[in-house]
Subunit: 345 residues, 4 copies
């Protein structure tokens, strides 16, 4: 049994991790940590977990974590857990970090978009970007994984096959993304008050959202040239989901079938990627699952392709992908604990 | 492997059954039937199931079902599947019926509340009421189970311990119940149009809802006297959940602790019943799970107890309890395939 | 033109008052006060009001309010505005208080249920309970009105005709009430985070909610005997609305028609009360309006009546009734500024 | 008093028209027609209107309408009311049509995008496109107005100032639009069942939605060159609202202030257009009102502008703009009956 720990277990990503790990057959939950709720049971904070995970929350330090765990998931805001991660890494544990801290190849990009100094740049060199479908082999060998952001997972996987096949112009790529509210986390804010969130929607951080840089990094790698693009996040009144509408100009007049073939080829052995040949993704098809759903339309009139990609932000966009990474890092079947269908309802 | 079939697989209860059976390790989905969608894949009707259950829907008859299956779940409106059930039963299969047809001990009660003539009264004599926590031993031996209604499961389990202990007056019992919209099924209706359903609520079938008779049947059995009560269903703007607020006058001035002890004793070995000692249930604690959550308040001023009981209508109130019944009927661990925590989010 | 001021203009009740006053043809908004947002425009806090009410918020004292206003609405938590109200009252202004402070005839009841000492008991003697349909004549002469609570307005108007006609037993009255989330106010709290509020519901303050005492006070007055009753508030995932389901035992076997006649007679000249003869109220019939909708069912089997009453908590349950009170106090048409239909959508 | 009639009064746009007309002080509702509900009161179909509009619905013909009305609003699907409109027009009435039939300058564009033959092309020559902010003077003189679509009103007003000022490239304009569910009308459909609509979202009619052609027509007029663009509609789980995110490449490096000035100048006398200088629109700022809210961000890195425009689809996108058109056609104050603030909550 893999002994797993979660730092930041009571945030939304942390709680989803606990839910997934609790039914993962090769894992035991060895430690859950929370600053705010230390001393309480996980199931007091999330009563949905009563009888499923009644572990008592600790205010864990690296020492304790290292003794109790084989792998630690850190689900805290960026910049907060670097010291702990550094200590855990040195002690030989495997670490999967859900913040933005270990997602970048280039420290300058990180520091520019996050407007902070990175506190352990040396670890950036050994960390691997945990987008399983793109970096599987490196992840298998990694001991520190930077688990990708929710918007980025969805956007990158939506556009990767087109760039790989050199099918679209790299200028004028536009990603119009819509997120459920859990993406904003469990913290309080006027904007997340039910009454100011239901029956309304908005755009935010237009042209400045950090995930832009993460998307650009990965798509540039695939395209083999530097890509900059428009990324616009929106908040829509649903709990879960990243729904991305991506626009790009075609280099020549491809048919829909030709483009779909690129997707089927690119993702041919991917269990968690589902291509839509005759319809388009809808958010309740992925909610509750680790799937990435992708569909597309060719606008022949304009020579443009419109791609829809869609994930559950808490699962494939956070906790599910983290478990998928753990599976890869420990040589388990990649889909262990992640096979369930979404809720639909 | 148990070969399981579902008639009416594309209704909400049917689809939830498919979702649960798809990850039940001792079951294989041997047949899915749907009049409306025969010929299509289950995963075309519910794309959330793509890659999880791509079985093609049939317009199945009893003959086919009997050949392919060991157990058949019938998830059709009352009165519709009696003929098939009768045939399957004769062929030796096990049948779990999710309609109201096989829930009654007394055919007259059924015919009065359902306003139809029962088409196979002889089967009523061998069928067992599938409320697992109350009829476990009979269910284990049954070949035909009438799977309880959602409102009834929630209401009966909420009041049973008090009646068993003779703690409340049997007059003036009031159950004010609130249901999520999936309880109304997948059929179209103006009342279920998103725009006329969100941000609103209503009571319906006040004093006439059929589940009243089912609740009265079971509570009378427990109390050892005939009980009649007020049951008022409401529709609230959420997808899943039965939330019941139950009122009863105490026979003497019990403390909250005394009443809670009755619940702990009554449900001491029940994995799926969770008693709240220091708080009250909330719907997102059970959504997505097979749990029944129960809490209570004693109003000392009025000598009254107010009980809250809460389930997911599609799981413990339909598909989950059906799987629980199957597990019992086949000698499997009762919680097989039902251990997952609820979604919370 | 009546010069109106609002203290606590940026809470939900305050903002709804501003919205209503802005289109009230005999009123001008002379002063809006807010501690938190003083210095900003009202329309910066509520951009829906841009171009409609761009008044700058002040941190107003009694002196300023007295100079600028003829009437002041105080929409602050209980206990907070007594000093200001006292000062304004002495200066001869009319005051409509939306807190619980001036709703009670008996100071002991207030202090028992609110667990605080009333800071200006002398004003309680001159204040009038502002439930327009029951106290119209006193309100017309009043200078200080205690505007009723949302739950109480809905519950009292739902039961008054039955008690007035001595048609129901005064024991075993049960009010099971459901509220939209705006009833909890604009303040932040984990329970009001969109993700923990949508798709779920709960009961709260069972048997202890303060509005119980307010309901008992008024129904006792009508019945001519002291009434105690069960009142259970619930939070349901919609923004607006109080939906109350009331249960009472009939003293003799009345027909539905007989009971409805009591309602039609009792409310025969009431513009804002709508009786349902052939259906039942639904929340989207009142949302956005000052109406009180009432319907009922007689359960002949049990000798019990189930009444449904329904209001918009922010309008008839707060700001609308406050404007209705102002209209009465200033001799304006009672429905001035309140004639609009609800939104339905 | 203007005698107004509505054909198709029980659809969502029709009902919203009735709600607005009922409180319009220079109008009386002279006739409401509905095929489905003829014989019932409007307030039986929409009980929110009880006591506000209890007019009996008729199955009206042109003859009756002409006798009873000065102006008729036709709120029926395209192609359905041409015959009636033709008759009414000949009899000298004023007609405001909410379908797509009279919005086009060029019959071929209509027939291509709607895939039907236009049944009264001669009327197309006299009809005026009723986007008040762009065609005010023609509307004042018109007797037949084609009331614009919801998506189109929002999109056109969002981009018009930039094109008027020649500030953006006319290639690569992308409009990613999100609509509340009422935009789909009151008709039933699986996609609008509450359970399949809440907590989810989707794109639909990608690259083929008819409103594309309407947007292109008007923007081409403003730009003085033929514009083609991407328009992608999405369905999001809220009742009301069109929220459009528009992308365009700047012809030179404008600052945000320079672009905002173009908007302020272009809309300087427009009561219903609100420009955001320091923030961005959010849907609950316009819900329930006739306002168009517009804000923008300049992405200097990419030389691109992202504009947000936002309306209530049933008001400025349908019924409200229809009333605004009526006001213009009858020489009333343009904002008569349309001054109310949005709901926010």
């Amino acid at each position: 049994m893999i002994r797993a720990g979660v730092l930041g277990a009571t945030g939304y990503a942390g709680a989803e991790l606990v839910r997934l790990l609790a039914s993962h057959k090769d894992t035991e939950i060895a430690m859950l940590a929370s600053k705010t709720y230390a001393g309480q049971k996980m199931s007091e904070v999330y009563p949905s977990l009563r009888g499923v995970c009644d572990v008592v929350l600790e205010e864990a330090d690296a020492e304790t974590a290292a003794q109790k765990c084989d792998v630690v998931f850190t689900a805290l805001p960026h910049g907060v857990s670097n010291e702990v991660i550094s200590a855990l890494y040195e002690k030989g544990l495997k670490v999967i970090d859900l913040s933005g801290d270990f997602r970048y190849n280039d420290i300058e990009t990180y520091e520019k978009w996050y407007q902070v100094k990175h506190s352990c740049p040396e670890l950036l060199k050994v960390s691997v970007y945990g987008l399983c479908e793109l970096h599987r082999e490196e992840i298998k060998k990694a001991r520190l994984v930077g688990n990708p952001g929710c918007y980025t997972t969805c956007s990158i996987l939506g556009l990767a096959p087109l760039l790989k096949n050199n099918a679209i112009e790299t200028k004028n790529i536009i990603i119009d993304a819509k997120s459920g509210v859990s993406g904003a986390g469990r913290g309080l804010g006027q904007a997340y008050h039910f009454c100011e969130c239901t029956e309304t929607m908005k755009a935010y951080k237009v042209a400045t959202h950090r995930h832009t840089s993460e998307i650009e990094q990965e798509l540039s790698l695939i395209a083999g040239e530097e890509i900059t693009l428009s990324f616009t996040p929106h908040l829509v009144p649903m709990k879960r989901g990243i729904f991305a509408t991506e626009y790009a100009n075609l280099k020549k007049p491809y048919t829909k079938e030709e483009l779909l073939k690129m997707y089927h080829d690119f993702y041919q052995n991917e269990k968690f990627v589902r291509i839509y040949d005759n319809a388009l993704p809808e958010n309740n098809h992925v909610t509750g699952s680790n799937f990435v759903d992708i569909g597309l339309t060719v606008d022949e009139r304009l020579g443009r392709v419109i791609v829809i990609s869609n994930i559950d932000n808490l699962i494939k966009g956070a906790a599910g992908q983290a478990v998928q990474n753990m599976n890869l890092m420990f040589g388990l079947p990649e889909d262990e604990g992640l096979c369930g269908a979404g809720y639909y309802l």
